[in-house]
Point group: C2
């Protein structure tokens, strides 16, 4: 059997074992048995438990980023791109719950080197989201006040919301990927769209159009 | 000097040291020196590095939850409660960057027992937020489809967004607590308000009022 196939089997077994038993309790014996190979072969290919864990994180992070990128078609309307990206993200995390658990829980809980691997993936997804929000804002001839820094803050908020929701969805029976995507879409899009139009909330007046806007106020409520 | 005062000095020194040097590199010598006490006294009061770290997490978690609760006045309009809660949260994390770093980064990176302490605090904040969203939805005579499970998903999304934004704000020079609160308010409130009115996004039609709504469509765009 080619080395690449064997390695994939080992990583499949390792992701499953790390996710379900935790990094500490996961044993190389169990991983080798689950992969159907000898323990010395695991050490020969992946060297140590730490390197095996790092290889798992990198593979799962790469697959998640690739799934989100593949789900979004540039050039479509911004709300459609966001919906497609969220759907791709939650579908991937729902279909790969062990991979998501390794990235979201295990990798961040067992020391800085592993947490740094996840932080790199997170930075890549956040940059992708910021790009999407920035493009959409430009396409909407947006509020000039929606500065790069605010776009960056919105990207952080959206990524943090998605991470949190994916963990909750995977732990809550009956919540589908589509449910999670719809919840976050309904939560996130109206605010993003308002910001692109320059509408901001104020403690004194609630939401209002930007100062100097050409819009006239609507008729008073009946 | 009373024991309570000594302990507070030790915890202040420990939070600062864990946040700035990381859990592993933090030494009991450094913490004792910074607190102005002898190392045996630290061991006498707090027993071990692990117990000291756990005491730091509990103190900082309790202070954060108390700050958010104190910031929100029940009975005010929902948008005002959300704004006040976000302002209290980001003000606390900005004024206590070391405490926030212990909770958000250090505690989650160094093993399950510490991560579980933070998860308990997070569950408390999420329950508080869910309660706020649920109350607001009921006050708005909300969409009957905004079920408890969707409220729970929205709470997860909001808490995840706030955590992510607080870490980013503390790492980004010039972003104030008010900036972070405004970004998240502008991001989160329009979607929550729409959901309370029963308006949901659909891939075919964008946002629309609920089926069977009494509203009539507006005039066509010119």
């Amino acid at each position: 059997m080619p080395r690449a196939v064997r390695e994939r089997q080992m990583l499949d077994a390792a992701v499953r074992t790390f996710a379900r038993h935790g990094y500490r309790a996961a044993s190389m014996d169990r991983i080798a048995e689950l992969a159907g190979v000898s323990k010395p072969l695991v050490y020969l290919y992946l060297h140590s438990k730490d390197e095996l864990f790092t290889a798992c994180i990198r593979r799962e992070a790469g697959a998640l980023v690739a799934a989100v990128r593949a789900g979004v078609e540039p050039g479509l309307p911004a709300d459609r791109q966001l919906w497609d990206g969220l759907t791709a993200f939650f579908t991937h995390t729902a279909e790969n719950p062990d991979g998501w658990s390794v990235l979201h829980s295990q990798a961040r809980t067992h020391g800085e080197p592993f947490a740094a691997e996840v932080a790199a993936m997170r930075a890549e997804i956040t940059a992708f989201v910021n790009h999407l929000i920035g493009d959409a804002a430009r396409a909407a001839r947006c509020d000039p006040h929606l500065a790069d820094r605010e776009v960056a803050g919105l990207g952080e908020a959206l990524v943090g919301a998605a991470e949190s929701l994916a963990a909750w969805a995977n732990d809550t029976p009956g919540v589908t990927a589509r449910d999670a995507a719809a919840t976050l879409m309904n939560f996130a899009w109206p605010g993003l769209e308002n910001l692109m139009k320059g509408e901001r909330w104020s403690a004194s007046a609630g939401f209002r159009p930007p100062a100097g806007s050409a819009r006239t106020p609507g008729p008073p409520a009946p």
